[in-house]
Symmetry: C2
Subunit: 362 residues, 2 copies
Amino acid sequence: MYLPPIGTRIEELDTPALVVDAAVLEQNIARMAEWSRRTGCAVRPHAKAHKTPLIARKQLEAGAIGISCAKLGEAEAMVAGGVPSVLITSELTGAAKLSRLIALARHADVLVVVDEAANARELSRAATAAGLRLGVLVEVNVGQDRCGVPPGGPAADLAATVAGLPGLRFAGLQGYEGNLQHVRTVEERQARCLVSMAQLLESRRAVEARGLSVGICTTGGTGTHDIAGEQEGVTEVQPGSYIWMDADYLQVQGLPYQGGLTVLTTVISRQRPGAAIVDAGQKAISQDGHGGPQVKHAGLSYAPMGDEHGKLAGNELPSLGDVVQLVPSHCDTTVNLHDHLHVVRDGRLEAIWRVEGRGKVT
Amino acid sequence: MYLPPIGTRIEELDTPALVVDAAVLEQNIARMAEWSRRTGCAVRPHAKAHKTPLIARKQLEAGAIGISCAKLGEAEAMVAGGVPSVLITSELTGAAKLSRLIALARHADVLVVVDEAANARELSRAATAAGLRLGVLVEVNVGQDRCGVPPGGPAADLAATVAGLPGLRFAGLQGYEGNLQHVRTVEERQARCLVSMAQLLESRRAVEARGLSVGICTTGGTGTHDIAGEQEGVTEVQPGSYIWMDADYLQVQGLPYQGGLTVLTTVISRQRPGAAIVDAGQKAISQDGHGGPQVKHAGLSYAPMGDEHGKLAGNELPSLGDVVQLVPSHCDTTVNLHDHLHVVRDGRLEAIWRVEGRGKVT
């Protein structure tokens, strides 16, 4: 493995390379922290976007109350990297998972989510056997139709079950309107998010009616955090992509965050008329779900050409050996393809950070 | 990081997990070797499918003449893992790449491809400065319309340029009809492959007419190796996926290779009517280009639900905590998401192999 020396100019980095603009990263983190201070809504940033403990630490230093993680493996990587408090936002089940969870809970504050009583009982048995008390949020389906109990009564029923089980501490509720994050207009996003929040807050009231305290009511992503976070009763939000955005999120109106993430790629062939073939394909830049990347040069477009190649088209094509920057359409899955993040300031390499959570899907 | 002990039953592996059936892998490798012996066409298997040096070694032990690699980084991983001979099937350009290439060529037999005289001169300067002689194939476009010189005269011109440059040794021609690998019917694949082979062999004759010897004439993948490899003048083929196939390749008619690769996933939520939510999403199983995975259980289908989740639908849904096997639609990009390959025989874990070439996109 070969890593370039600090100070290397961006055009001289070996490609494909995942690159972040340090100034944009810092500005986006500061901007979210300002929003949090202004509104009083806490932020528990989602590590699924960066998977990098050093970025998590910067978010914590800016005021974040903890870090959200998509998977137990991602949480393990964050804790090993020095993050003291993690919320795992997906349900965990099975003996292998729970033994790892218990081990992790001995080294950090760990919160988990459940959407089924059987899963809560499984967690209770594991925690009790280990002599631990696990903080548990009940996940409520607020419109994404993936995980989560139905809102209202079912949420309250499960909260009561959790509260009554040994080894568990009922810590609150989680919603996630993931289906709304990329809704383009502010008006539609606002209207639909308020419907989701009504379901979450209805659940909160139903839980409180059972005499239980909802310490945490967490929801929202980059696209909806400002709408969700201003609702009375929502205590925190979980934005991830805001730190560097992507080509899809940059088309979502009304978000004050700047694009800072690119994949550098080199033209390796100019034999086809009207096309330049580059060395970044599906293994270097994600093309699932959100379409292909944008090219950060006016007048050029990118089309996939398999695992290792892409095709640039346009009027003023780059030459053999030229380096161009692609803006990923989906930052989470693109970052997941790379071992290293090249941190650039003023056009030169300032640091290389290992993406410790990459591939940590278990 | 946690790895399960040898002997673990497949249903007890932590998920998502990339799993290969050892018996199927061995049978597929043996079957390709038999084809090679029968036809006299050499095989240089493509490591882009497995990215795992131990599998490359098994292919070499079965008679393969060397290993093909998509990128220099993949070749570095193979050489570090003990593979003595690598062909890098994509063009390499730029100072960072060429310094790595020269370093690698000191430790293994390395073949590279070019499709432009300027690139050949760049390679010549680097090799000459290092006192090395690099084996170079001229890549010919035989219908994929990606890299490669046009067939015939342009191929012969570039071959003559390569042959005349110090530090380079003209080693032959590469074609790749990647556009035909997944053509479903034998008849259409045969007819179209013969058109591509006519272009490659026309190029061979044009090169020979300049008095140059074409030592290597390499082409073909899993879908077309038997058609391409039986043409007089084609010396070898580069199949990759045949070792374990995928859901897409398994629909290509007339291929004698068995499916052996799956991703294990666990049901983590049963709250939605008619659906079971599993813990494998776009970060565990590729969904780009070739659609979603198949479920290895009759009557169940999979739909993506984001980076970390999928949704199973069907009549007899599995229960919370149940483990199911998904057959990737695209093996190369799915393997590229995993650090470890779980090797299973008779339902129990026999070995864990590190996917050393994973993410080696530079």
